[in-house]
């Protein structure tokens, strides 16, 4: 397998081409976490399958070509379970069947053909929810198989948000489209897209722009995490927490509005750098706001965690064991809350980690809602620490340009760009053809891996605890459906 670095460009011709049997053997031998597993139309009815595995701080890439008459292969899921969703997606997009896949169900299309698991017996019943849910949230269908009040298994059928983003990205890529793929991770998605284009156009982004992006990315993380602490409080009917965290989040996103004119950071990041500079006055005001935010979050979190009625709802609810989480291939925050050590900010570090002394801090995970609650609190504090370091460093690069221009896009290139959004790793993969145009754009949201984790979390919990399990994961529908 070819070793490549995150956020760098390689020639398509450097990527090995194997027979699918060989590729499968190699994947099983490596036994690493998949980051990409997707096809590309290779002309004359052939399909080329690309595989990217994590081997921090590097990535392993390889590929195989299916001839026009090869329409199946022996699935990998039975050997390495975390491939289950990737193989389903590959089957849906290119019609090549992974044989003996344990549940080869639709991912985004043909929902009317979705066959739910069935359970029979006394006191067994099903609860169907969605696609339209009770709250103001995105659509998805949940099917609970219950034994009395207890959930035996949950099946999640998604695809309602499918807008064909990958095709649109190939035809007409833009920062505005990248921002709208998943509107709660605007900065993360747009940064991943911009890094991709910068690699293809050979642009070296200025230090100043890099730091501003980092500040915004961490602000996005902090803001959403604070909002989620409030949402978890709301779901256990601790309304005080919901109100206070809600109001505190407003302070962070309004600071974002001052930075770039949008509460969610739209318009900030662009290919080549950032659109808006941070004046000293803005930075000073922001730092004051962050002081207050940190204080308020700490105060409210401690008040909540001291409250026994709160703790009795958070502890041991929606538990996913580390072993199961690893099997399912959970990533990002949901994975870290189960004890999986995965964070692309540290797995694929940029130069700033060393320069600013940003270090990974340990977290004692228990896999339940409590763990996800406390992890958020920890990450909020870390984010503000990173923001302060970046803002202080920004003074050194006053004269750097905001935007750097580049050349035409490279021909026959392959780029992987990973950004740690607040949910976890956001992976953008692009390929160009021999005219220097995009020929394939692949996006992987952390939710793509993590939805199955939610299904595991609600097992053996009361059906009434579902909202709490769901909100503590807060996964993306549109990021999954694309």
């Amino acid at each position: 397998m070819l070793k490549i670095k995150n956020n760098s460009k390689v020639n398509l011709s450097d990527i090995p081409v194997l027979k699918i049997g060989e590729l499968r053997d190699e994947i099983i031998k490596e036994n690493k976490r998949p980051i990409g597993f997707f096809g590309k139309d290779w002309g004359e009815g052939r399909i080329r399958l690309f595989v990217i595995l994590e081997d921090a701080p590097e990535l392993l890439v390889s590929s195989a070509i299916f001839e026009a008459d090869e329409k199946s292969y022996e699935c990998i899921t039975n050997e390495i379970p975390s491939f289950h969703i990737y193989e389903r997606e590959f089957y849906e997009q290119f019609g090549i069947e992974p044989l003996h896949h344990p549940w080869l169900k639709p991912v985004r299309l043909n929902q009317d053909k979705y066959e739910f698991f069935e359970m029979k017996g006394e006191e067994v019943h099903q609860v169907a929810v969605g696609p339209i849910h009770a709250g103001v949230i995105e659509p998805g269908h949940f099917r609970f198989m219950c034994n009395g009040e207890t959930v035996y298994h949950l099946e999640i059928m998604l695809g309602y948000q499918h807008r064909g983003v990958e095709d649109l990205m190939v035809k007409n890529p833009s920062n505005q489209l990248a921002e709208s793929i998943c509107g709660d991770s605007v900065i993360a998605y747009n940064t991943a897209y911009s890094q991709m284009m910068e690699n293809l156009k050979n642009i070296q982004v200025s230090n100043k722009a890099q730091l501003i992006r980092k500040v915004c990315l961490e602000m996005e993380r902090a803001a959403i995490h604070i909002g989620d602490l409030g949402a978890i409080a709301g779901d256990i009917a601790y309304l005080m927490g919901a109100s206070v965290f809600g109001a505190t989040r407003t302070l962070v996103i309004n600071t974002m509005l001052e930075f770039c004119g949008s509460r969610f950071g739209r318009g900030m990041v662009t290919v080549g750098g950032v659109n808006y500079d941070l004046s000293d006055e803005k930075i000073e005001r922001a730092l004051k706001t962050f002081d207050k935010v940190e204080k308020d979050v700490e105060r409210m979190t401690n008040t909540m965690l001291k409250n026994s009625t709160v703790m009795s709802r958070l502890e041991k609810t929606g538990t996913v064991s580390e072993e199961r989480a690893k099997e399912a291939g959970l990533v990002g925050m949901a994975g870290r809350a189960c004890g999986i050590d995965v964070d692309s900010r540290f797995d694929f570090p940029d130069k700033w980690n060393e320069e600013l002394g940003i270090r990974k801090k340990a977290f004692k995970a228990s896999g339940d809602v409590n763990s996800r609650f406390k992890l958020r609190y920890k990450e909020i504090r870390e984010s503000f620490s990173i923001i302060r370091k970046c803002l202080a460093k920004l003074a050194d690069y006053k004269n750097d340009p905001l935007i750097t221009n580049g050349e035409d896009m490279a021909k026959d290139a392959f780029v992987v760009s990973i950004v740690e959004g607040w949910r976890g790793e956001i992976v953008h993969i692009a390929m160009t053809d021999n005219d220097g145009k995009l020929s394939r754009y692949k996006i992987k949201d952390p939710s793509f891996n993590n939805w199955y984790g939610l299904a595991l979390a609600v097992r053996n919990n009361g059906v009434s605890d579902f909202p709490l399990c769901n909100k503590s994961h807060n996964l993306s529908y549109c990021g999954n459906d694309l």
Binding site: R108, L109, Q111, P131, I132, A134, G135, V136, I137, E138, P139, G159, Y160, Q161, H162, R163, G164, D167, L168, K171, N172, S174, N175, Q176, L177, E179, S180, I181, C182, G183, D184, V186, G227, M240, S243, V244, G246, A247, T250, L257, E258, F259, C260, G261, S262, R263, F264, R266, G267, N275, R299, M300, N302, T303, K306, N307, S476, Y477, C478, D481
Partner: protein, 246 residues
């Protein structure tokens, strides 16, 4: 218990007292102004085709308020005017003659029967039809302690049976078309349909997608258009208020 009380006292009152005249930060990109010389701007800079130079217009129904045209061309300026809602799709098209004050006065056509039926209480069912969760988050924010939309009797409810209308966000994917129509029919008459955000009004950045099915919008009358990407809570609340209040 005492900690909770202390936190409560410390937080004090958070709500914005006067939503209809709430100040907005200058950086907010709201109502656009087209000044002399904007004809020479490159309309291809607009990712959604909202900017047209012959004749010169910006269609707020398509605009994502990304500011790309403003950064490229000095003759276009986004003001912080946030009252953008309109009852008429045509009125969302801003021309060089438009100005914010006149727009606010004339954009929403107030009807007696609407004010009489929904003026005191309006319960809405939101349908996210392939939205990116941006508008959804802002609509949730409408009910938080800062904006507190509930004080005007406007609320989001869980069941369409309890609702007086639906709020649609997102460009309406094929996969959501059936559920959306089903939801619409479940709302008892008389009912409102409100389009929220650039995606639902025009398809926004997704307008060229082959995975959309926007037939619903041709079949049923639309009562209110609320532009934005995403829609700011103040835009949403003021848009609704101007439609259901005298």
């Amino acid at each position: 218990m005492f900690d909770t009380l202390k936190s409560r006292i410390y937080q004090g009152k958070q709500f914005i007292k006067d939503i209809q005249n709430a100040p907005m930060r200058d950086q907010f990109r709201g109502f656009p102004i087209l000044k002399e010389g904007a004809e020479v701007c490159d309309e291809n800079i607009c990712p959604t085709g909202a900017l047209k130079t012959n004749p010169l217009t910006i269609d707020m129904g398509k605009c994502t308020f990304c500011g790309a045209c403003e950064r490229a061309c000095n003759a276009i300026e986004f003001t912080n005017g946030y009252k953008l809602a309109s009852t008429d799709r045509e009125k969302l098209v801003v021309t060089p003659q438009s100005d914010y004050e006149n727009y606010v006065k004339s954009a929403v056509e107030v009807k007696k029967e609407i004010v009489k039926t929904f003026g005191h209480s309006l319960k809405l069912r939101q349908v996210s039809a392939a939205g990116c969760n941006g508008c959804e988050m802002e609509l949730n924010a409408c009910s938080n302690v800062n904006f507190d939309m509930g004080r005007y009797g406007i609320d989001f409810v869980a069941s369409p049976r309890h609702a007086d209308g639906i709020v649609i966000t997102g460009p309406i994917s094929k996969n959501m078309a059936y559920a959306l129509e089903n939801c619409y029919h479940s709302v008892p008459d008389p009912k409102l349909v409100i389009l929220c955000g650039a995606c639902s009004i025009s398809g926004g950045v997704f307008q060229n997608s082959t995975e959309l099915n926007r037939e619903f919008l041709e079949k049923y009358p639309i009562d209110l258009y609320i532009p934005g990407c995403p829609v700011h809570p103040l835009t949403f609340i003021n848009g609704i208020l101007s439609y259901i209040r005298k």
